[in-house]
Amino acid sequence: MTKMTLAKALNAGLRKAMENDPKVLVMGEDVGKLGGVFRITDGLQKDFGEDRVIDSPLAESGIVGTAVGLAMRGYRPVCEIQFDGFVYPAYDQIVSQVAKLHFRTHGAVRMPMVIRIPYGGGIGAVEHHSESPEAQFAHTPGLKVVTCSNPVDGYWMIQQAIAADDPVIFLEPKRQYHADKAEVDEAAVPAPLFASRVVRLGAEVTLIGYGPTVKTCLKVAEAAAGEGRSVEVVDLRTLSPLDLGPVYDSVRRTGRAVVVHEAHTNLGMGAEIAARITEQCFYSLEAPVLRVGGFDTPYPPSRLEEEFLPDLDRVLDAVDRSFVF
């Protein structure tokens, strides 16, 4: 049992994975001596050497493209994309190769690759450093997409993603890296990777978040409780595949649902979740599933990001709106 931040938990999880399997490699820009700009790979090159912790030339397509070849040779590459906005040069390799090789070869080629992406806003950064690209990857068959919201999940989920035989886009809410500490029990039995989780029980409305917005949702539930309103909160954890069983159960009880994410609302995860909930819980819904997301504008200059991001008030407002139906 040790108290860790999400950053430290991810670092510990990566270390564990590298100890357990000599085929696991870490590659990316500045992941070596520097330990990555967020220090998630801190100390790994020192302990596992330059052959296993690889500083790459400055080219994302090159990072992911060479990782494909390494995977074909039997390695399990863990690629770090320095910031969400810089995954796009690698987009072609990800959607046309990483995602399709298993299908193309009827499984003769497996892609046990993890692509780690620090994502989301709220850190006062410049352009391209606060994007939320999850919907684009979740729309791509062949990829699996997960995101952790807390240190305990960070520690386990990164190890489970590395152990998985399918390519996993691993989204890390960078705003949470150093936010809070939590007890991580290395001896515990982790929850399965591709499962969502009810993180707060409630009766009147279901709040659905993931990654950086889970914390917001919990705050909302707390605030709503103060106003005598009972809010259930679900942390999706996996975005592809989606594990909506717990959500359906919840909505059938509450009759109301609000999805919260930082990504642009239009065609964000909320759209798919709303559509599925409506199909599955049509007769239970007292109100349409509402969505609170980033606006349909590019991510704004940092002085406006608090307005852009879904916060306590905007989510509360949506919860209230769901009750006027």
């Binding site: 490699l25 052959d51 790459s56 030339p57 080219a59 397509s61 090159g62 493209g65 060479t66 990782a67 494909v68 070849g69 390494l70 995977a71 074909m72 040779r73 039997g74 390695y75 040069p89 072609d92 390799q93 046309s96 190769q97 090789l101 298993h102 299908f103 193309r104 070869t105 009827h106 499984g107 003769a108 080629v109 497996r110 046990p112 068959p141 062949g142 699996k144 998985a164 035989d165 399918d166 591709f194 595949p241 989606l242 594990d243």
Partner: protein, 380 residues
């Protein structure tokens, strides 16, 4: 600033067998016939073998083109004219070497022992070229231009990590070949592959078949200097070889592969050749290129020059050539029947091939579709 001379045909091209079938010497490269275990082989026998390889490869190509014309294939990527480039390279490979092809390396596939029917399956649309690359160390065809050059570089980085370069063990030291075309040389991925390979000194040979055309675009659109010189900009050697001369291609590729296996890093080989056919069976080259050009290159045919050589040297006679023809006929027949016999895939199979570990949501989509299909039983 001194402008760079944009001459495209430069003297440095390695040639060992002229279009007229004359052996010529080259200061740096010589053709040597070796057995699988590196011993001395009978040169005549080996060259006869290349002749046979090229004839069979050409037959695979012409037969497949015919199959497409008859509606048996959706499309076919013709290699006509590039037989020497592919056989010369393919026969220089060792079993442990690994190949990353484009969509046109039918001759290399043949050298690796891949059944041409597996390739026909892709162009017939019964699958996407689903062979197991590990079975012949021959990766799956890659259609997105240039993507495979990064895969090859990464694979070569894996070979390094496995300690299989520069050990001196001829059966273990491994090199990787990345095939690509002249047009592909313009893709960011290909240039990033050069950078990664140079940075890590990875054992990869970048084998470019410069067939002068990228669909309708001539090589000049992609580069104003000979392509092999691209390597100079990245700090590794590049060499241009007569891609229609199987002996020269074999000699140069053999040297390049060994250079990589020995741990010296990447090499760029430009096989200077010509796409005699259309880009694919759906293309119409008459819209963009002169027939004179075709006539000019016909005189450089890769197979004809070897036949002349073998005949003049008395290394092969009529019987031999006829025997090869018969073999080609049999191959052709096998492809025709085999292609028509390729089974159509099971509709539900597509749901099973997406992931190594199936997801509940996709399994459910599969079941729903299965039930839907079942609802038509008898109806249709």
């Amino acid at each position: 600033m001194t402008p760079v001379d944009p001459a495209h045909n430069d003297a440095s091209m390695v040639q060992l067998l002229t279009p007229e079938g004359e052996r010529v010497a080259h200061p740096d490269y010589a053709f040597t016939a070796t057995t699988a275990d590196g011993g001395v082989a009978d040169e005549g026998e080996v060259i006869r073998g290349y002749y046979r390889d090229m004839v069979l490869t050409r037959r695979i190509d012409t037969e497949s083109t015919a199959l497409q014309r008859h509606g048996e294939l959706g499309i076919w990527t013709q290699l006509l004219g590039q037989e020497a480039a592919q056989i010369g390279c393919g026969r220089a490979l060792r079993p442990q070497d690994y190949v990353f092809p484009t969509y046109r390396e039918h001759g290399v596939a043949y050298c690796r022992g891949l059944d041409p029917l597996r390739i026909l399956g892709l162009f017939r649309g019964v699958d996407q070229g689903a062979w197991d690359p590990a079975a012949h160390n021959f990766a799956n065809y890659t259609i997105v231009i240039g993507a495979q050059t990064l895969h090859a570089t990464g694979y070569a980085m894996g070979v390094q990590r496995d300690g299989l370069v520069g050990t001196g063990d001829r059966d273990r030291d491994t090199s990787v070949v990345a095939f690509f075309g002249d047009g592909a040389s313009s893709q960011g991925d290909v240039n990033e592959a050069f950078i990664f390979a140079a940075s890590y000194n990875a054992p990869v040979v970048f084998f470019c078949q410069n067939n002068q055309w990228a669909i309708s675009e001539p090589i000049e659109r992609q580069s104003r200097i000979p392509l092999y010189q691209r390597a100079r900009g990245f700090g590794f050697p590049g060499v241009r070889v007569d891609g229609n001369d199987v002996l020269a291609v074999h000699a140069v590729t053999t040297a390049a592969l060994q250079y990589a296996r020995d741990g010296n890093g990447p090499v760029f080989v430009e096989a200077y050749t010509y796409r005699m056919g259309a880009h694919t069976t759906t293309d119409d080259p008459t819209r963009y290129r002169m027939s004179e050009e075709l006539e000019y290159w016909k005189l450089k045919d890769p197979i004809a020059r070897v036949k002349v050589y073998l005949t003049r040297q008395g290394l092969a006679d009529r019987e031999y050539f006829e025997a090869v023809e018969r073999e080609a006929d049999e191959l052709g027949a096998r492809l025709r029947d085999g292609c028509r016999a390729l089974p159509d895939p099971e509709p539900l199979s597509i749901f099973d091939q997406v992931y190594a570990e199936q997801t509940a949501e996709l399994a459910e989509q599969r079941d729903t579709f299965a039930a839907y299909l079942a609802s038509f039983e008898g109806v249709r």
